[in-house]
Point group: C2
Chain length 227, copies 2
Amino acid sequence: MPPTVRERFRAELTAEITAAARRQLAEVGAAGLSLRAVARELGMASSALYRYFPSRDDLLTRLITDGYDALGAAAEDADDPAAPPRERWLAVCRAVRSWARAHPHEYALLYGSPVPGYAAPRDTVPAAARVAVVLGRIIGDAARSGALPESAGRERDPDLVSDETAALLGGEHPAIDDAVRLRALLAWSSVYGTISFELFGHLVGSVTDTDRYFDGAMGELAALVGL
Amino acid sequence: MPPTVRERFRAELTAEITAAARRQLAEVGAAGLSLRAVARELGMASSALYRYFPSRDDLLTRLITDGYDALGAAAEDADDPAAPPRERWLAVCRAVRSWARAHPHEYALLYGSPVPGYAAPRDTVPAAARVAVVLGRIIGDAARSGALPESAGRERDPDLVSDETAALLGGEHPAIDDAVRLRALLAWSSVYGTISFELFGHLVGSVTDTDRYFDGAMGELAALVGL
DNA sequence: GTCTATAAATCGATAGAC
DNA sequence: GTCTATCGATTTATAGAC
């Protein structure tokens, strides 16, 4: 059955609330996010917001899941499974960085310092995994198509990566060994480290052209995992 | 001339203030750091603190420089210039991670989300650079001793890294080209990304043994830069 | 479902006595 | 250099009228 007028109105107002909350996030950060300030911006009484979000933390959780979903969707949209692995890798990395630069405060909420006194509930996990799923599929596809070079000479270090995470690269396959899994996880951490360094200001006088630097760095990471 | 009793007493109390502030940092984060709470913990009137730190931001700046200095000292202590490059790299990376795990909230202050409304003054830059200086020297030493393999086949991408940062690897040397500089910067970003992922909880169900994972990942990074 | 009103706190920063 | 007192703000969350 179609949503009632009441339900649609409620969904609309909920969207307005989260939009205002995101604007506030940019000004005062996650730790300073306040229901009252959101209410003020919307011209409502603060108590009215409690009909939509039972507490400040619930609003925060919503912002986090929304953020992970938006970022995950951007990564998924950027991936063309028909393209060569290396191009897929670069395209997705660029999409992640673009989203991060367009939404720096949401990115900081997702990947920056943990918010003191707040613990993300389990509900956020599936959304949080979406980017890793995309990157894992690219590497897994390349491995299964035989595009990955042998991990010759590298010592194995078995069972470092959990089964759930290993599953992101696809099921069992002879070309996907422990070394590939380790490098895949390191590559994802490095993508994150590169973007965070840029966004959090640690690259400021160090790099002349951040776009070119990013592409170059992602190319090195692709080479690291063998794409 | 030796410090007067007055000066020594002042220095001692200043240290007590920053120690209390660090404890508070762990509870409420940088954004929630409050001079009043620090004063309360020390049994002083809040107004008395203003004789030591003219504002909340000055206290924050002190915590940041102290943190960078402690981390930098840990990295410097861990480096034995007589050891082989790969061992030096691993030892320093381990020291950085150890310090980060021992002081997670200070690490988050240094490398996590920027504090809203706060801009670090220039004074913090030298302290902030100390770790990068150590890592840069390791790579530079290896390059100058001819231990680095040729960047064969890699296309050059000139002038990506600023002159100041390039100087961390030592002056001009034929073995230190743009590709080496790019990979050095990427490696440092990746060390940071790996530690942050672990500390900020993004590796929680993904890695079974974080110590072994870290060593393995740092080994891959050493290989990336050619150590 | 929105409002007013309220409780019980918090904060940075300053003035002025001692 | 520490204190009390104060200004002028902030917050979460709830109670109860409409």
